[in-house]
Subunit: 203 residues, 4 copies
């Protein structure tokens, strides 16, 4: 049984983690990974620098927390889609839209999570990277599509990498270029090429 004090502590703890998360995201957004210092995170989270170290052993641990905190809801949503009763093509379309929405919303965090190689070094994960696990899930969906006869028998991992790279790359490019496509238009373009190729049915 959890005592009152314990529950209160947990509540406070989760509040502070939330503050740290939001502070860190704000700093990442404004200053990039390299400009994300403990000083700035502490200030943005409204606490003393030393306090951060009462909750995270190191900067790395803090950033890992931010990553997990940011990725968790997305991975849950992803799994939900994977387990749906939709057909493979519909699943891919849903995922493409899901990612686009998340990327747009949490751009700063994902920028450093997905692409930043400094972060890759810092957050030491290879197989478990967000990207890698996404690729695995997509590969599974494509595999299902192939077995149902909906898809041609292609190299599923390669196809999954293409899908993931393209999904993320398109959004990133929009950010870099400072433009923004309507969600549907972008998704349709991606799905059109990914499902039917450039050459079309007579190809």
């Amino acid at each position: 049984m959890t005592s009152l004090a314990e529950r209160r502590r947990e509540l406070l703890d989760s509040m502070m983690r939330e503050a740290v998360y939001e502070g860190a995201v704000a700093v990442l957004t404004e200053h990039g990974l390299n400009g994300t210092t403990m000083d700035r995170v502490a200030a943005a989270a409204g606490m003393a620098k030393g306090s951060l170290y009462n909750h995270f052993r190191s900067k790395q641990e803090l950033l890992e927390f931010v990553r997990d905190r940011a990725v968790a809801p997305m991975q849950e949503a992803l799994e939900e889609i994977v387990e749906n009763k939709l057909c493979a093509a519909e699943k891919l379309a849903s995922i493409s839209r899901l990612w686009r929405e998340y990327l747009v919303k949490h751009h700063a965090v994902f920028e450093f999570l997905i692409n930043d190689h400094a972060a890759k070094r810092l957050l030491r994960d290879t197989e478990q990277t967000v990207r890698a696990s996404g690729i695995k899930q997509i590969a599974t969906i494509i595999e299902q599509g192939i077995q149902k006869g909906a898809f041609r028998p292609v190299d599923v991992t390669a196809a999954a990498e293409i899908f993931v790279s393209a999904s993320i790359g398109m959004v990133e490019q929009e950010f870099a270029a400072g433009i923004s496509r309507p969600v549907d238009e972008a998704g349709d373009a991606l799905m059109g090429v990914f499902l039917h190729g450039l050459c079309g049915s007579e190809g």
Copy 2:
């Protein structure tokens, strides 16, 4: 008219820039962008730290030089392919292979050039990014393919982004995962999906 002294100066200058380039690449390879200090670059280039500042106003300028120096031959090769007499699909296949070879060979540099957002910030380019200019060229090729009736009338920019993201993403993923696919296999997989889609001709 260039005097003898002037020519000699230029020669020396280009030799030193070459040394800086190679030193910087070596340091980037070994220590990553964050570990690339002026000290290390100077040491690797076989010169004094102060001398770097006689040729580059700042670290940023030096890194921009490295980027340009690294990208130039690739862009030349790209243009050559674009101007070839090949059909669009063959051009794309050639480019895919070209990029793969370059990425594998100069991995460290491109890692920081193409993806590292710390570098993006550092190297202030939006439209002129390597990626952006690559996308433009690819879009042109696809446009040609469409006009020749070889490709379906898709959103050329989106398709180009997909192609570029996928080309780069696949190699990056291999690096991250520590594996390496045979060049042809990877290229075939990409071209297969990109040209014909997952659904196949009956799709």
Copy 3:
């Protein structure tokens, strides 16, 4: 008259001080004086860091308590020897052995008590240092020996300093060198030199 509550408080208090003593000694042993943080002491003593400050005004006060707590039994034993009916030479031999045993047993504490000048600064004592009071006692014994005609009329303080320094120094040296002499051998060597000198009876 002490009330029951008062007595209970005292009991609890002495139990906690005991826990603090043992915790502090453990930490001193494992981490050295510099590594002895209030956090670690609290953890080793099985209590919250804040609680330490309910019983000791500061780290310095806590360490002074540890010093006194560690030194007390040794000083009692020393006084017991001093008041014995033994002759001066035998007293010295007993003391030499007593110290050796204590030093070996409580090495970590005494290392910081006796020699560590950081501690000396921290624990501000001059005359009352363990060392100083030991020297006084030894001087008294030597004085007695001289008055009984057993010893030559030497400078008693100097002789006492020699005895104390040598007693401690020999053990310290063993620790530093990582070796350990048998108690008797070391004691015999010390007493031999101290009583008869290097030159021998004909000297």
Copy 4:
């Protein structure tokens, strides 16, 4: 052949090392080993903190330099005495006086070099400690005295440890107590006890 520039550099370097040495000694004297921060050393040496790191890789390396710089002249003087034509007893007396003079003069440094266990930890030396090497030399002298028949056949290492501990301990005690004996008096007292013991010739 050393170029002019090279010689000038060496001169400047040795001047700066001298400044660092004196600054460090001043700080050690005033603040103790624990209070000896790089900031303070830099300030005392009249230079910027960062400059220290151009000449010493770390605080430890700097302190090791200070130790060596402080110890070198003493060890040279010690060796000179060892190689003299004096008899063993005279050598010991000379050494005793030498040490006393050095200790008095460079008290702060030696306090941390010889006794401070924080320093021992920091300066990782066991056998090569100042103390250990001094003991070795003394042991050699005693050994010679024994072979010449001047000394009784005692445990030379133990006797050397006694001599060294007593020599240093007496000075340290004077410092701690804030008094100061005349050099000769202290030396005579030590040599008297060390050579002839407490018991005297009839002992």
